[in-house]
């Protein structure tokens, strides 16, 4: 039900980026069933990410991870009133077309799924639906934005319950942005070359001191304190994947992470909501992961 028959005014940069602005300060939760989606909505999630297996299970079970079954995504769309996101494989523009046709509100072109193209990301500007993409540093973030991403998240290392890689990526993004602000016009040309990003975008970041799109964090968050730490490191919101529904008490942990994200700078609140949450997800030491099992190295 578009406001005009020709759908004029839909899918603009402002509409896509503006949607992400509405999610700020919020928590986006991975869910695999309509029941989990309802639990997430009840806990105060700003959106859910519909997928077939959470990253921890993708790791455990192996095989090729793809876009989810449309029936499953539809079931989740029907179950909740908050926005529904879904993942497409890196470069798999037809999965993205299918997700757009299903009516998802945001597509995550995600390294958690098995990449479908080793050279090209999806041309995201060709879609009405907005995209979020992962990044490990500023150059990667700017390359995704130049392809049309309307939101960026750190990659972290999904499905590990270990926040160390998300920390690395958030610090790298922040350091990269700060460094640009110290450069003069001539140096920005060189920086653009080094970052392998368009110089206009590099100039824009240098002037604003921030990305032109919303920056969330993702990958390995498992506790309220993890979420608050990422917010203190400059994230504007958080994705939590396996950390909620692989824990002992998902509903309570989900609500606690929502509260810790809002009061990320108030240790008293974080302490209070962190009590009695039951078992967190078990987790994996990222240092022992072989390179072939690191999702953050997917994409470029």
């Amino acid at each position: 039900m578009a406001p005009s028959p020709d759908r004029s005014g839909t899918g603009t940069e402002l509409v896509k980026r503006g949607m992400a602005e509405q999610l700020k300060g919020g928590v986006i939760m991975d869910v695999v069933t309509p029941e989990q989606a309802r639990i997430a909505e009840d806990a105060g999630a700003v959106a859910v990410m519909a997928l077939e297996r959470v990253p921890a299970d993708i790791r455990a079970q192996g095989g090729i991870a793809r876009m989810s079954d449309p029936d499953m995504i539809q079931g989740i769309i029907d179950a909740v009133s908050i926005p529904v996101m879904a993942k497409a494989r890196i470069g798999h523009f037809v999965e993205a077309q299918v997700l757009q046709s299903l009516g998802v509100d945001y597509i995550d072109e995600s390294e958690v799924l098995t990449p479908a193209d080793e050279a090209h990301h999806i041309d995201k500007s060709a879609f009405t639906v907005p995209f979020v993409c992962g990044a490990t540093d500023l150059g990667e973030a700017l390359r995704r934005i130049s392809e049309g991403a309307a939101m960026i998240r750190s990659k972290g290392e999904a499905g590990t319950g270990n926040v160390v890689e998300a920390t690395r990526h958030m610090r790298a993004l922040r350091a990269g942005i700060r460094r640009l602000a110290t450069l003069d016009e001539t140096e920005l040309f060189v920086a653009a070359k080094e970052l392998r990003a368009p110089v206009e975008l590099v100039r824009e970041v240098a002037a604003a001191g921030k990305l032109p799109v919303v920056l969330f964090t993702a990958g390995g968050l498992a506790t309220p304190a993890d979420a608050a730490m990422m917010m203190q490191l400059g994230a504007e919101g958080v994705f939590v994947g396996s950390g909620i529904f692989k824990s002992g008490d998902p509903a309570q942990r989900a609500a606690a992470i929502v509260q810790a994200t809002t009061f990320f700078d108030d240790p008293d609140v974080i302490a209070k909501v962190s009590r009695g949450l039951g078992e967190p997800m078990v987790g994996i030491n990222v240092a022992t992961l072989p390179d072939s099992e690191r999702y953050a190295t997917r994409g470029w």
Binding site: P3, G9, G25, G26, G44, V46, D105, Q259
Partner: protein, 210 residues
């Protein structure tokens, strides 16, 4: 006789979740002392309150959990100026359609608001709205999974409607006393006329009380 000297109006932005920073920037540009509000004691320091865009279910739950719901209701009921954009319109509405049965709101605005009325994100759009009482060209308006006012009570002034398309004539901007609400997001477009209007409402309210 010159106008009485009054201080800079202090305007809070409910900062539980949503596009808080954009509202703070727009209010400051219009001369307000704008502050984020996350706690009842912070609400007590402001002369007016903005309910930002965001996810209305999340904002409602956090407001309830952190003891802000009743103080907000009391403030709006007792005449504190309030402005809500998008999710903020939902939070100010007395009645909701297409909402989860347990969704809580602050209320205070005698309207029935339909959530996600225009559709999903693929249906979100930019347009313009002729805003009653504001000088200048039609206002650029961005609607993001936006609500509309399905029914407005007798005391509610309609300030803007959708023009053209299947949603033609739907109400997207209203005012009732000191409470203003828009389905769209003036905080995202750089057109600050709604924020200027609201800061003026806060200023007049303070002057009337002093």
């Amino acid at each position: 006789m010159s106008a009485p000297v009054v201080g800079v109006p202090v305007v809070g932005v409910l900062a539980l979740q949503g596009d808080v920073r954009e509202h703070l920037a727009a209010l400051r540009a219009e001369g307000a002392d704008a502050r984020p509000v996350r706690r009842p004691e912070e609400l007590a320091t402001v002369d007016g309150i903005v309910l930002p865009g965001g996810e209305s279910t999340t904002i409602g739950k956090l407001a309830a959990r952190f003891g802000l719901l009743e103080p907000l209701r009391d403030a709006v009921t007792s005449g504190m100026p309030a402005y809500g954009s998008c999710a903020g319109m939902i939070v100010l509405a007395d009645r909701l359609l297409d909402a989860p049965p347990d969704q809580v709101t602050v209320g205070g605005l005698d309207v029935t608001v339909r959530r996600n009325a225009f559709g999903r994100q693929a249906d979100s759009f930019e347009s313009t709205v002729r805003f009653a009482g504001l000088d200048g060209p039609p206002m650029p308006a961005v609607f993001i999974r936006a609500p509309w006012v399905e029914e407005a009570g007798e005391g509610v002034q309609v300030l803007g409607r959708v023009e053209g398309g299947p949603a033609d004539g739907r109400i997207v901007a209203v005012r009732q006393g000191n409470v203003v609400a828009t389905s769209f997001h003036p905080e995202l477009t750089g057109d600050r006329r709604v924020h200027a209007l609201f800061v003026d409402i806060v200023r007049r309210h303070e002057r009337g009380q002093s």
